[in-house]
């Protein structure tokens, strides 16, 4: 499913990230968000999401989140 359907505080696993050519997606990868990773949706604010990934927190925008398939 898409990240949009996640609830606040919900844990999820990244199933697939599309468009690996996209430099911003590559950056996301380097920041540690990649297939198989567990993360948690902490907060939403309009277009932006705050995720918790291991001991780091990432902000990503909704358009970018659309590339991410979760379960």
């Amino acid at each position: 499913m898409n990240m949009e359907s996640l609830e606040l505080g919900q844990e999820f696993t990244v199933k697939e990230i599309k468009d690996r050519e996209n430099p911003m997606v590559r950056k996301l990868y380097a920041m540690g968000l990649k297939e198989g990773k567990k993360a948690k949706l902490l907060l939403k604010n309009g277009r932006v999401y705050l995720l918790r990934l291991n001991n780091s927190r990432l902000i990503i925008d909704r358009d970018l989140a659309k590339f991410i398939e979760v379960s």
Binding site: R20, E21, P23, M24, R26, K27, L28, Y29, A30, M31, G32, K34, L42, L43, N45, G46, R47, V48, L50, R52, N54, N55, S56, R57, L58, I59, I60, D61, D63, L64
Partner: protein, 696 residues
């Protein structure tokens, strides 16, 4: 002759690279708790044993595939400048992710020292890393540190020297068979043989001549060549992680998440934001204002008369005495009185930067910024603009899209900086005694409004295009240490004092000279300065600034806005005549000194007690004691024209430093067009407000 070791400090953003360098080298480079503090490479030299070690602090990077400009600077340095040693700093709590960059750095085959920083935070999370195992596996040196307190930092220099002396080349990074085979084929075809793995991979991925090898690799693996490389790197990093981490810890709920639930709340977050801004300014004003008054008294009632007396006793010529009281005391001294205001404001801005609050504003503000086609990250340089426009403009290098960068650079100069605040505080205390805080708030908001409008207009005309993505890491909250905050504040104060001694002093001298040519002019309005100022009056008359003293002050103010104040100080003190000891009056230095000491004690008392109230109490100037200078200036302005003057100073980019950095970042043409634009919008806004105020 000492031998030099060139050391590149590389690591993810916000892992403590600069903190550690400051510890090692005793520098005071800027540290902050958010990604993107260091955007240029910064250098420091340290002598150690028989070596001179040349450290280069690089902007933080997550990977060696750069997207934004600060990242390109870091990667470019490692690729092209061939450091002798790589100092790879790791945020231990996030070691899993950090090891990806480590893997990429190991590909260079250069002696490497790995610093496991933030051991304190790792311990709290129950994470334990085996540094000896890292050394063994990779043939590197590994050191554990707590950058903030300095624990372990001492071991870094010996490790660097050892890695250099023993030429500790890391064990080669070995990837999967298919990739290694492809790299071997690339290597075989090259005539020169001195390539490292990083270069080979780059050639494999990019060079057209190797497209056959690339295609073969893609056929064998069923993946894009780029994906093969990146998957292999991740796999290596992950293997390393599994080998060296003894305890992974538990990701317990921490305080940051609890704070964030309020601070980043879509509605509550704004209440907090406004509260933070209000308190910052309240404290900055109230705490500083007793000291501003004290310095004013100290200069005018003590320093000036004492040195004036001394100069007189030493038989300095009359013109020099005048120069001293007008240009030095009236001009430079005037500006110096504002040092406490600047210091306290920087104290709070720095505190916010170091606490980790600033990047949170980016998250909060995204909702508004995206209406003008920018995402929340662009708020960070804009907020930094309140500290000083110059570093704020440089900070746009973290932005991934050039369009966003240009847009934000054209908004930053409208963010009001402390130099402008000095001008506002001065005028507001003369012309808006009843509510100076309100006037200053209005001016700050006006600046923000002009910035947003500018962004909006540019977006609708020149810089259309779609929005770029927003990805950013949020650091945990960290309590800044007083020492580190004060170090940074001191850097800003030194900078201000330096400007006072150079630019501002120079401008005061120039103005003073122009007021005194042709030699022997009786009335300064007949001097060259007077003529130049009067020639400009027609331009400014429609916005209510119709006297030559004000217009003359605006010219040198292009160097820096505070100069408006020092120039006015010079001009008005000249008009007023010597401000020092009137004839006949007895001046006793020891008495005066005693008074100053008492006054200083009172200033501390007032500052502390004012902080305990909730409203802004300073700036409500006591009616009685207004010195002559202020009353002279009062004669030349009305509240409406004073407001118009402040607006002009606010909006017009009257700052050489800002202009210069704009030229560097966006080119001369755009910077010059922007300057014209800022002049025109300053004039128009001032015109509207001036006429509205006259109607009321």
């Amino acid at each position: 002759m000492k031998k030099t070791i060139k050391v590149a400090i590389a690591g993810n953003p916000n892992v403590g690279k600069t903190t550690i360098l400051n510890r090692i080298a005793g520098t005071s480079l800027k540290v902050g708790n958010w990604p993107g503090v260091t955007v240029e490479k910064k250098e420091a030299f340290v002598k150690f044993g028989e070596y001179e070690i040349h450290f280069v602090d690089l902007p933080g990077i997550y990977t060696l595939e750069p997207v934004s400009e600060d990242e390109r600077i870091a990667v470019g340095f490692i690729e092209e400048e061939k450091p002798d040693v790589i100092l790879n700093i790791i945020d231990t709590p996030n070691i899993e992710r950090n090891l990806l960059l480590t893997t990429e750095l190991l590909e260079f085959g250069l002696p490497t020292v790995i610093v496991l920083n933030m051991i304190d935070e790792a311990n709290k999370l129950g994470i334990e890393v085996d540094d000896r195992r890292i050394e063994e596996l990779l043939n590197v040196k590994a050191v554990k540190t707590i950058g903030r307190t300095g624990v372990g930092v001492r071991d870094i220099l010996p490790a660097v020297v050892e890695a250099y002396e023993k030429n500790l080349i890391p064990k080669p990074v070995i990837y999967g068979q298919e990739l290694e085979r492809a790299l071997d084929k690339v290597y075989e075809r090259l005539s020169a043989k001195d390539f490292n793995k990083h270069q080979l991979i780059r050639m494999l991925l990019e060079e057209p001549v190797f497209s056959d090898i690339r295609e073969e690799l893609e056929r064998e693996t069923g993946k894009k060549a780029y994906d093969v490389v990146s998957d292999e790197r991740y796999a290596f990093a992950h293997g390393l992680f599994a080998e060296v981490v003894k305890r992974k810890g538990v990701s317990a709920k921490d305080i940051t998440d609890s704070i964030d639930r309020i601070v980043l709340h879509p509605y509550l977050g704004f209440v907090v934001f406004i509260g933070v801004i209000y308190l910052t300014f309240k404290f900055a004003f109230d705490f500083s204002s007793p000291f501003v008054d004290w310095i004013d008294g100290f200069i005018n009632d003590f320093l000036a008369p004492v040195s004036y007396g001394a100069l007189k006793a030493l038989n300095f010529p009359e013109w020099f005495l005048r120069f001293f009281s007008e240009a030095v005391v009236g001009g430079v001294g005037f500006v110096l009185t504002f040092v406490p205001l600047i210091a306290t404001l920087y104290f709070f801005i720095t505190f916010l930067e170091m606490s980790g609050y600033i990047p949170r504003v980016a998250f909060l503000m995204d909702r508004f910024m995206h209406r003008i086609g920018l995402h929340g990250k662009s708020v960070i340089p804009l907020i930094l603009g309140f500290g000083c426009n110059v570093p704020a403009i440089v900070a746009t290098r973290t932005m991934e899209s050039t369009r966003d960068k240009i847009l934000v650079i054209m908004m930053i100069p409208f963010m009001s900086c402390p130099a402008r605040l000095v001008v506002f505080a001065f005028f507001a205390s003369i012309f808006f005694k009843d509510n100076p805080a309100l006037v200053i708030t209005f001016l700050y908001l006006l600046g923000i409004a002009v910035a947003l409008l500018t962004g909006f207009l540019l977006r609708k005309t020149v810089y259309k295009g779609s929005m770029s993505h927003f990805v950013m890491e949020l650091p945990p909250y960290r309590m800044p240490s007083l020492r580190s905050v004060i170090t940074i504040v001191w850097v800003h104060i030194k900078d201000f004092l330096y400007r006072a001694g150079t630019l501002i002093f120079g401008a005061s001298i120039a103005i003073w000279l122009l007021m005194n040519v042709p030699p022997g002019v009786k009335n300064i309005s007949e001097s060259v300065a007077g003529h130049v100022g009067r020639a400009l009056v027609p331009v400014f008359e429609p916005i209510g600034i119709d006297n030559w003293k004000a217009t003359t002050s605006l010219i040198p103010a292009f160097l820096a806005r505070e100069i408006v104040i020092s120039s006015m100080g010079t001009i008005y003190s000249a008009e007023q005549g010597s401000i020092q000891t009137e004839e006949g009056e007895e001046f006793s230095p020891s008495e005066a000194l005693k008074k100053q000491v008492v006054a200083f004690g009172n200033a501390i008392k007032d500052a502390v007690s004012s902080v305990l109230t909730l409203s802004i109490v300073s700036l409500h100037v006591e009616e009685e004691e207004e010195d002559n200078l202020k009353s002279l200036i009062r004669k030349d302005f009305s509240p409406a024209s004073a407001m118009s003057f402040m607006i002009f100073i606010l909006i017009y980019t009257s700052c050489l430093g800002t202009f210069a950095v704009m030229v560097r970042e966006i080119g001369k043409l755009r910077a010059t067009l922007f300057l014209v634009y800022s002049f025109v919008s300053a004039w128009l806004t001032a015109f509207v407000v001036y006429n509205l105020m006259k109607l009321l």
